[in-house]
Amino acid sequence: MSEILIEERKIVVPGEVLAIGLDYVPGENTYREEDKIFSKVLGLAAVSGRVIKITPLAGPYMPKVGDKIIGRITDIAFSGWRVDTNTAYSAMLNVKDATTRFIKKEEDLSKILAIDDYIIVDIINVTSQRLIDVSMRELGLKKIQGGRIIEINSQKVPRVIGKKASMITLIKEKTGCEITVGQNGLIWILGSPEGEAAAERAIKMIEEKSHLSGLTEQVEAFLRGGR
């Protein structure tokens, strides 16, 4: 009796009816009105069992606890730093979350992190008002030095990383660069200037062609040809 109106990986627009009947369940970026399921966003449909969800093609990044992001220091406060997260919301990095070492009361915080420094941080708390707390105490979280930072659409981050990090590992191996992908769409690349430029172009290519299949092979061919 229930009917599904879309195919896997089809592009849907907001308000498009995805399925009729109560046998299907609305997943991410969809909603139910009476017995119909509608799309909330422009994106690609995905059906897994009874659940219908949409992977958005574009849209802002929404901060989530546990995400690793790249931020920029915008202000130094009394007991911490204000961090621009490349979203609508700014984050707070408390002194106790910045280092493992003891920081004296009268210490100059700008000696540790100055304005316009870029940092890799983890989101440890997001309130309902979207006040974000970030931490630098985990392994691999640090102040960024050297290299370059590029920006991509944050919705394409999963494609840049790939299944089980396959894509990003490929780029790292072929270009010899160290790459950190922030969930907010900022990516840090560190390596030789040539490697960095190649990695940047490869990532921009993934961003552009993210909706196509067979991307890993294309990226591999691109990186082989580009060297």
Binding site: G146, G147, R148, I149, I150, E151, L186, P193, E194, E196, A197, E200
Partner: protein, 264 residues
């Protein structure tokens, strides 16, 4: 907005750029598309790399200025749309928009690219006035050179509208085949100085890292019609010489692209 200023400067010292271009290489593609708007008398969209600028020409009949009764006029305005960069806000033009308009205007005006006397219809009474509007569609750096190319292409493509001889009113829906009296095509090339090195066609990141810049407008014969220096840094006399030599060379490259614009 990410700037990578430190990396840009480090790479420049190794004679490299973020995108691996040479210092004097323009981004590709360089494209000019004309007559993109049917409401303007002439229009053009110019793309250099990711930077896109549109320009439109409107013509109107006005009373000439009192000090030049036998001449028409030209006016160039620029607007930096908020959609073209995260730095631009809606509202009255800021200092960047004003400078862009003035540099473009000066390049064309001082070269006497348009024969203003030929725009006059009745001395002291009636003459054609040319208004050019420049808008940025995407600012990925080097707006000066792109805006200048867009303005020239739009002026080249412009056709006079039909004027009703009895009433004197302009019928903008009908165009005559007559083009503007464009006698010269002064091309602007902007050279940026970063860490003592001279770069052409900077990206947004390189623009932010630059200490100084010099815009040189040059016509086909190599005559310089205008200069504009910007930025806090200084330029030595030797550097200005090098910049002018570079301009001669690069303006020819851009001129080849501009001359490909076919005006029917």
């Amino acid at each position: 907005m990410i700037t990578n200023t430190k990396t840009v400067k480090e790479l420049v010292l190794q004679n490299k750029r973020l995108d691996m271009r040479t210092f004097t290489e323009y981004r590709q593609p360089i494209e000019i598309e004309t007559n993109i708007s049917w409401t303007a008398e002439g229009s053009a969209k110019v793309t250099i790399g990711k930077t896109v600028v549109m320009a439109g020409v409107k013509l109107s009949l006005e009373k000439p200025y009192n000090d030049t009764p036998d001449e028409g006029g030209i006016m160039i305005n620029a607007e930096l749309l908020p959609l073209s960069s995260s730095e631009y806000e809606p509202g009255p033009p800021g200092i960047k928009a004003v400078e862009l308009a003035r540099v473009t205007d000066r390049g064309i005006r001082e070269a006497k690219a348009i024969d203003l006397k030929a725009l006059c219809i009745e001395p002291g009474e009636k003459a054609w006035f040319v208004t050019v509007d420049i808008i940025s569609i995407n600012d990925a750096g080097n707006l000066f050179d792109v805006a200048n190319l867009a303005t020239l292409a739009a002026l080249k493509a412009a056709k006079f509208p039909v004027v009703n001889q009895e009433t004197g009113s302009i019928d903008y829906k009908q165009k005559t085949g007559r083009s503007l009296p464009l006698t010269k095509e002064p091309i602007s090339v902007t050279v940026y100085k970063i860490k003592g090195k001279l770069l052409l066609d900077p990206t947004m990141e390189e623009e932010k890292s630059a200490e100084a810049r010099l815009t040189v407008s040059i016509d086909k014969k190599g005559t310089i019609s205008a200069l504009q220096k910007g930025g806090e840094g200084t330029l030595t006399i030797a550097e200005v010489g090098t910049i002018i030599d570079l301009t001669h060379e690069k303006a020819e490259e851009l001129r080849v692209v501009l001359e490909r614009v076919v005006v029917s």
